[in-house]
């Protein structure tokens, strides 16, 4: 069984990080952060904890994986999808990411008596370093 690979690119700018970071504060006001502060927004704060620069939210580019699967598989993803990703290297402001789903052959797996199709997820930065990897699957 073959599936055409899904791919997308993300420019992880500081504005993009700020936009995602503002979501939780807008949804839950008592968790709102002061703009420009913390290791997601302040370069000095980020460097003080050993990061190259302000760090992106992992769930930001994780969300792109889900959106690619929604685009390809629609309701089947929205009702049976599973995703599991390990985050290997921090992504920082200024990084450019490439998300690849399905670069390797489709895997057939059985979970809880359900037959599922599993695809590899690989996320690379502009240095071609693997920053996150895992899998997605849907019920077949």
């Amino acid at each position: 069984m073959t599936q055409e690979a899904m791919k997308t690119n993300i420019a992880m700018t500081q504005d993009a990080i700020n936009a995602f970071g503002a979501l939780i504060g807008k949804r839950i006001p008592w968790l709102k952060r002061k703009p420009g502060t913390g290791h997601h927004a302040d370069p000095e704060a980020a460097k003080s904890v050993g990061l190259r620069g302000p760090v992106a939210f992992s769930l930001h580019y994780y969300a792109q994986v889900s959106q690619l699967m929604t685009e390809r598989f629609g309701q089947r993803w929205l009702e049976t999808g599973k995703i599991a990703v390990s985050f290997i290297k921090p992504v920082c402001a200024g990084d450019a990411l490439r998300i690849h789903i399905g670069d390797r052959p489709v895997q057939r797996v059985t979970e809880d008596d359900d037959s599922r199709m599993s695809l590899q997820v690989d996320i690379y930065n502009q240095l071609d370093e693997l920053v996150a990897a895992g899998s997605v699957s849907i019920k077949t």
């Binding site: 690119n9 979501l23 502060t37 904890v49 993803w77 990703v85 985050f87 895992g134």
Partner: protein, 143 residues
């Protein structure tokens, strides 16, 4: 090691204070169209048409509530500057815009590895009918 510029209020609860099996939550709130559109707009431009289509169809993007681990843990653990190690999500039902969801969780693991302290939280989203919609598992370091 904590960032000098942590801006979330600290509560004095550390990794040493949390225990396996500890429940967190519940959070209960309505999934509004505004929340969904805000989430859509925070995604890169080439994804927006597909995400906007979901919003138009009245469905919440399934990863929108993955960040709920933050308010769930808020009274139990100072998250510090820790980095996310892993996240998994199982989708059982789509969440409709306008529905009221309840999010609950439980500390599943805590461990040390290579000098860092990690925690794992299982957290689930149920709709207003009590149906399980989303199951999350997240592992983060605190240092």
């Amino acid at each position: 090691m904590s960032s000098k510029n942590d801006t979330l209020p600290t509560i004095g609860r550390t990794w040493h204070d949390i225990r396996i099996g500890q429940p967190v939550g519940p959070l209960t709130y309505s999934v509004t169209r505004e929340m969904v559109l805000d989430f859509c707009h925070a995604l890169p431009a080439d994804q927006k048409p597909y995400v906007d289509a979901q919003a138009a169809a009245g469905m919440m993007p399934p990863t929108m509530l993955c960040t709920d681990y933050i308010p769930l843990l808020h009274e139990h653990l100072d998250l510090g500057w820790g980095l996310m190690a892993r996240h998994s999500l199982a989708i059982h039902k789509s969440v409709a815009i306008g529905d009221t969801v309840t999010v609950t969780g439980e500390i599943a693991e805590k461990y040390e590895k290579k000098g860092r302290h990690y925690w794992t939280l299982d957290y689930s989203v149920r709709n207003s009918r009590g149906e399980l919609c989303l199951e999350n598992r997240i592992t983060c370091s605190v240092d």
